[in-house]
């Protein structure tokens, strides 16, 4: 990241977007990508809020921190001197805050909690819960400081998985049947104003595998139907093939000839004698064939993703798993590809 000082002047694919919603099928690394995106957006002296809403404490795990409270706190410094804040939204706390902020009802709020109102809200009408947590998130997006400027340059929301995200964001619709007028409806309309505006982009995290790709494409359709703004597709854990195409093509057809490899193994001093070398070459040939099949499948999945017409970003598989250093590596990759 050589020219971080120029970040502000640089065009990214999502200039003007303030709410980045990140979704993905389970197991695709949605929280990791959300965290890396927050770091990338903050780089060069910006202030970014990373929000999680499912009570999993995923952000704390990714940044290797103790569990986060319901409070915006600084958790990381971005490359080039920006700040990432984090918030684990809790529906119950959000409700208490909401009651206090709009109605000055702290005591009543506590009573509601004791009565199990949150149990109630999540059980009987999950739409209410969604309104509360998306409400908190969009409030952070809109919040302005004393100088009249937005407090956060961007907010990244680690959202529910792909299958649920359109429903989660489409709160107006979710509560429409329940509340046609009144404060809940008003609150939902405010949320809706933010999430359907060009200030929002819903990004998908996927792997180059059939099911996550299919879910991504289905998710994009659902967003379109719900009138929500689609963002980019982040393909995670990509392993580049080092093998030449002619080898892969031959291997897929079961026609890989291990003779050349046998010679190479002997030259490298890995095998003594012909039998030993060719046995090793045979075993490696098996790996090559599997690799070739997977590479072909990945190519097919890439093409399906390309057909969606959405901007695409590819993030490498981290050799050592996701640790803090790996997170910065992903952030750099996101930055270099122009997503932030």
């Amino acid at each position: 990241m050589g020219n971080l000082r120029n970040v502000r002047a640089r065009d990214t694919d999502w200039d003007g977007v303030r709410l980045h919603v990140v979704t993905g099928k389970g197991g695709t690394g949605k929280t990791t990508v959300a965290a890396a995106l927050a770091l990338a957006l903050a780089s060069g002296g910006r202030r970014v809020l990373l929000v999680e809403v499912e009570g999993r404490q995923g952000i704390a795990q990714v940044f290797d921190l103790p569990p986060l409270p319901y409070e915006e706190r600084k958790i990381a410094v971005a490359p080039g001197g920006g700040d990432v804040y984090a918030l684990a939204v809790d529906a119950e706390e959000a409700m208490l805050e909401y009651l206090e902020m709009f109605y000055g009802m702290r005591r009543a709020g506590k009573a509601l909690t004791r009565m199990g109102v949150i149990d109630f809200a999540t059980t009987i009408a999950p739409g209410f819960r969604d309104v509360l947590v998306t409400g908190k998130t969009t409030e952070a997006v809109r919040r302005k400081g004393k100088d009249g400027r937005r407090v956060y340059d961007a907010v990244v929301l680690d959202a529910p998985p792909t299958g649920r995200v359109a429903r989660f964001l489409n709160v107006t619709n979710e509560v429409a049947g329940l509340a046609r007028v009144g404060p809940i409806k008003h609150h939902a309309d405010l949320v809706n104003g933010v999430v359907t505006s060009p200030e929002t982009a819903v990004h998908f995290v996927t792997l180059l595998e059939e099911m996550p790709v299919q879910e991504t494409l289905d998710g994009l359709d659902e967003l379109r139907e719900a009138g929500l703004p689609a963002g980019g597709i982040f393909t995670n854990m990509v392993r580049e093939s080092l093998l030449p195409k002619r080898i892969l093509d031959a291997a897929v057809k079961g026609r890989f000839d291990p003779a050349e490899l046998t010679l190479g193994l002997k030259a490298a001093g890995l095998a003594e004698g012909r039998t030993n070398a060719s046995a090793m070459a045979e075993a490696l040939a098996e790996e090559i064939t599997e690799h070739a099949h997977r590479t072909r499948l990945e190519r097919r999945e890439r093409l399906s993703l390309d057909r969606s017409g959405r901007p695409r970003y590819e993030l490498p598989l981290l050799a050592d798993g996701v640790d803090l250093a790996g997170l910065y590596e992903l952030a750099e990759s996101i930055h270099a590809q122009g997503a932030a």
């Binding site: 389970g26 009565m115 790996e287």
Partner: protein, 375 residues
């Protein structure tokens, strides 16, 4: 690696005493595929099995010949041998509707089914889905049409929701809040809140402000109608819970050899023990092996570097790099599994190797079944 006992799934599916197998685990680890493969294998080994899936991927559903979500067990065509296999996809709303219709007189049922709160509750994804999956499981078990039911748990944000949901829903319907909300019906239609003490009054006031008067009224109507129907709601939840604890039930925790999934699996194993649910063992899906495992990652990398520096045998050095990557991945997966085994040394484990492609048809499922049982 500390050696975990081997999970012998064939012994479990062959045991006529096994009546229910619950596959659970975090999202994206191949739970549904595991459930379907176990179902097929059980049927082909002579059982009369039904697989209840909650939210299968389209192609997996197609591989069992399921094309629609119609809440009815459909025979799976192409099963070899004496046994039989049915499969069904849960229709959460219809299952809920059926409970209402079975327990309420037509008038009251209509009142409930058309209420906006009921519609939200019955078609939402959290809580209700878990409850309805358990309800359906109970129905299938009571029907006694199959001697083995294999159920795939909902893709919850946390695997535990599925154990908690029935109780939560039950607790909620029996709760104080319900008493508060049903008060108007019991007070003959007059405003209930006048009759309540000061503490409840505050809550009622807050609810009115928060929800608005119309919402509160809809809610009261709904809750009082539902309350009458679900007199024994908690008892029902309790029954399902006991069914899961019964000796004929086997929980199979499914994971992938990655940190999050293994952590979730660990958590689940502990939780099942706490709840005295019978755990059969852990299935680790998508494990990477290297056929040329005798060649270590370090040696492979060193040899590749050597060839590269000499500018010879490009292909061999690329293959050696690929192999080293695969060995590193296998080692990392191994470490994740070792963590689990150290923490839970008595839990039987079985592994399924990673496959390049997803399952599309019965023969793919059959292959997974063989791998699940391979020793």
């Amino acid at each position: 690696m500390k050696t975990a006992p081997v999970l012998d799934l064939d012994a479990i599916i062959d045991d006529p005493g096994t009546r229910i197998i619950v596959c659970c685990g975090s999202g994206g680890v191949g739970k549904t595929t595991t459930a379907a493969a176990l179902g097929l294998r059980a049927a082909e080994r002579g059982r009369s099995a039904v697989v209840l899936t909650v939210d299968p991927a389209r192609r997996l559903a197609q591989s069992m010949g399921l094309s629609e979500l119609d809440n009815t067990p459909r025979p799976v065509v192409g099963v070899a041998g004496e046994g039989r296999l049915h499969a069904m996809m849960l229709d959460m709303k219809r299952t809920f509707d059926e409970i209402i219709e079975a327990h309420a007189d037509p008038d009251r049922a209509r009142q409930i089914l058309t209420n906006p709160f009921y519609q939200s509750l019955s078609s939402s994804f959290s809580g209700t889905q878990e409850y309805m999956a358990m309800e359906k499981l109970g129905q299938l078990r009571r029907s006694d049409e199959w001697d083995l039911i294999i159920v795939d748990t909902p893709p919850s944000r946390s695997a535990l929701d599925f154990l908690d949901a029935p109780e939560r829903l039950g607790r909620f319907l029996d709760g104080r809040l319900i008493r508060l909300l049903t008060a108007p019906a019991k007070a003959g239609g007059r405003s209930a809140f006048k009759l309540l003490n000061a503490g409840l009054g505050i809550v009622a006031g807050a609810l009115t402000k928060l929800l608005g008067a119309q919402v509160l009224k809809d809610l009261q109507t709904f809750v009082s109608a539902l309350d009458a129907v679900f007199g024994g709601f908690r008892a029902r939840a309790e029954q399902t819970y006991q069914l899961l604890q019964a000796p004929g039930t086997a929980f199979v925790v499914v994971a992938a050899p990655e940190r999050d999934a293994m952590r979730e699996a660990s958590y689940f194993v502990e939780r099942l023990a706490e709840e005295r649910m019978p755990l059969a063992g852990l299935v680790v899906n998508r494990v990477h092996h290297a056929p040329a495992a005798a060649l270590s990652a370090a040696r492979s990398t060193a040899a590749a570097e050597d060839l590269e520096s000499r500018g010879e045998h490009d292909l061999t050095s690329a293959v050696l790099r690929m192999h080293a990557g695969r060995m590193y991945l296998a080692a990392r997966e191994q470490r994740e599994q070792e963590h689990f085994v150290s923490a839970h040394p008595t839990v039987p484990v079985t592994q399924v190797p990673a496959m390049p492609e997803d399952v599309h048809d019965l023969s793919g499922l059959r292959r997974i079944g063989e791998l699940l049982s391979a020793r």
